[in-house]
Symmetry: C2
Amino acid sequence: MTDPSPVDARTVPAIERLTCVIPAGGVGSRLWPLSRANAPKFLLDLTGSGDSLLRATWDRLTPIAPADRIMVVTGSAHRESVEAQLPELLVENLVTESEPKDSSAAIGLAAAILELRDPDAILGSFAADHVIRGNVLFERAIRTAVQAADQGHIATIGIHPSHPATGFGYIESGAARGDLAPFDVYDVTSFVEKPDEQTARDYVEHGGFLWNAGMFIARATVLLDQMALAEPDLVRSLREIAAAWGTDQAASVRERLWHGLPKIAIDYTVAEPAAAAGKMVCVAAHFEWDDVGDFASVANLLTRGRGSDLAVLGDGAQVLSDASSGIVVSESDRLVALVGVEDVVVVDTADVLLVTSKAHAQDVKNLVTRMRVTGGGHLL
Amino acid sequence: MTDPSPVDARTVPAIERLTCVIPAGGVGSRLWPLSRANAPKFLLDLTGSGDSLLRATWDRLTPIAPADRIMVVTGSAHRESVEAQLPELLVENLVTESEPKDSSAAIGLAAAILELRDPDAILGSFAADHVIRGNVLFERAIRTAVQAADQGHIATIGIHPSHPATGFGYIESGAARGDLAPFDVYDVTSFVEKPDEQTARDYVEHGGFLWNAGMFIARATVLLDQMALAEPDLVRSLREIAAAWGTDQAASVRERLWHGLPKIAIDYTVAEPAAAAGKMVCVAAHFEWDDVGDFASVANLLTRGRGSDLAVLGDGAQVLSDASSGIVVSESDRLVALVGVEDVVVVDTADVLLVTSKAHAQDVKNLVTRMRVTGGGHLL
């Protein structure tokens, strides 16, 4: 494990040593049948902006890091889709996985590649399929986090909760770290799982709890060394793959090692142990953030600030409704007529029609799981 | 008005003088988008039997009257569809209307044609778009009604209610008419409109109230003479059209007179005045009957006696659902997935998707009315 490097050793400013890593995995089963194996959530436009979530993520990062310092980690199957969305992405910054191995492997491999390019590289990891509004506030938070990362800390971003959400994890923040920044930086006391409603209300009233936006900013080497404490074999394999990356052996080394890697989220290999060890800080931020976990979230995103509360993703002229809530996702040119139904979720695609309610939007995942077992997998 | 002919004047048995008339009009707006202008309710299969309601009506009547004594009155636009459904229908028994003029004109014209063919003709009118189960009980009731009709009465059929339905009109029955049949025949005291729930419960408890199945059995001349008391001009026009029927002048006479006919239901020109005058009798019957007025009715029809309560009209293998109520009508080959929704109505057609609830099934008509005004008429 590398100790934090002293600031005065640096000649290149920290922000110029930042590479943004976008892990683009995860189908987003709760958004089926809009999301599919070949149309994962990060390739969807869930805001009606015309851009995929991946493209919006890229555009949010380019004011912070130039195109040659943005890296995408994705499944081999999605290579072409990602390249189509991000023509500016350098080929050496497109890292493909032969099979999904969760976020420790994906982000860890990016870190291993980056530390070989520059031992002082700083890595920022940003999900490909979240929605953020308020890019100036986002940029300010990331710049603050990069400063903390340069000091050897592992930084994350915590969002001031606007309501007692039960669908997000929370960060319990501790002492303010005025030594790292004049404001907004705190120790992380712990990460807590999605709370029940009463607990969420307590968190919001208490004020010391922030939504966990799942972002990590750290020196690549610090991140890997922290991960190695929990998963030494994983990190050894990742560094071996990274050493061969860009050479003739890249494919064969990855083939040999990747399949055996453990599937484990970076929350368990890095964030939680680092917090427990007092090495984690968070930057508290006020930008709007949503991980858009299900169609209820999509509906809430779309209706924000509009007079009518029925959300429509697609051609609104094709929807006839007396409803004042719920969401219609229209991918066909059929007329969708709603009569006397509230809080309904209607997803109209070419080969599948889903009808559920906002309250049951999470249960779509169960249906997808059931279809995997009982048939219908070709529709997933 | 003709007095009832004495029974002993007859040499041909009454049942052999019966012609069944099937008025096949009415789009059935509450069943949109399954029902359309060019696919009216009577052409639909709402029971999953494979037969249209019109065809099922025909098949129910042929044990009572042979094909050459079944007449259909329908709009000119539906002529070909009706002929395709009923290849046995004689061309002289297919009466077409140049525009819809409600049941007085439709049934009255049939009666006027029949009285010219045989002054002792008996007419039985049976809707083309109701569902009946228990054809033996149906046949027995009609044979009883024909006997009463032959005596000069206007007979109707009342269904013993199985539950306090609020969607049907009721017949208040009076004294038993043992002079007409040993049992099941009663005077009609009055016809009452669709009741509220408490009234419907009172009716069922009281026992003297029957569902009005909208059937009329009478001598053609008796029916027309009764109608003439309320609408003399209408009946004069109908008899003029009938006199030209089957001649070269048929089309021109109908063209000249039809457009000016009043649009009025036979309930108001015949049934209610005849009941008030003590000329109406009803045959109380126990067969199952439903006018299938909306998708909630279709759901109730389809789920009768089945383990699961989700009704499916179409290919059940295309429906994935955790619901134990409601109805899916599938006209496409798309998968329909329901998650956590109860009592929902989903109608999936090629160009329109309707989502409503059983409780709001009647409101579909309002949407159709709105579309007629605001656009979308091509989908009606």
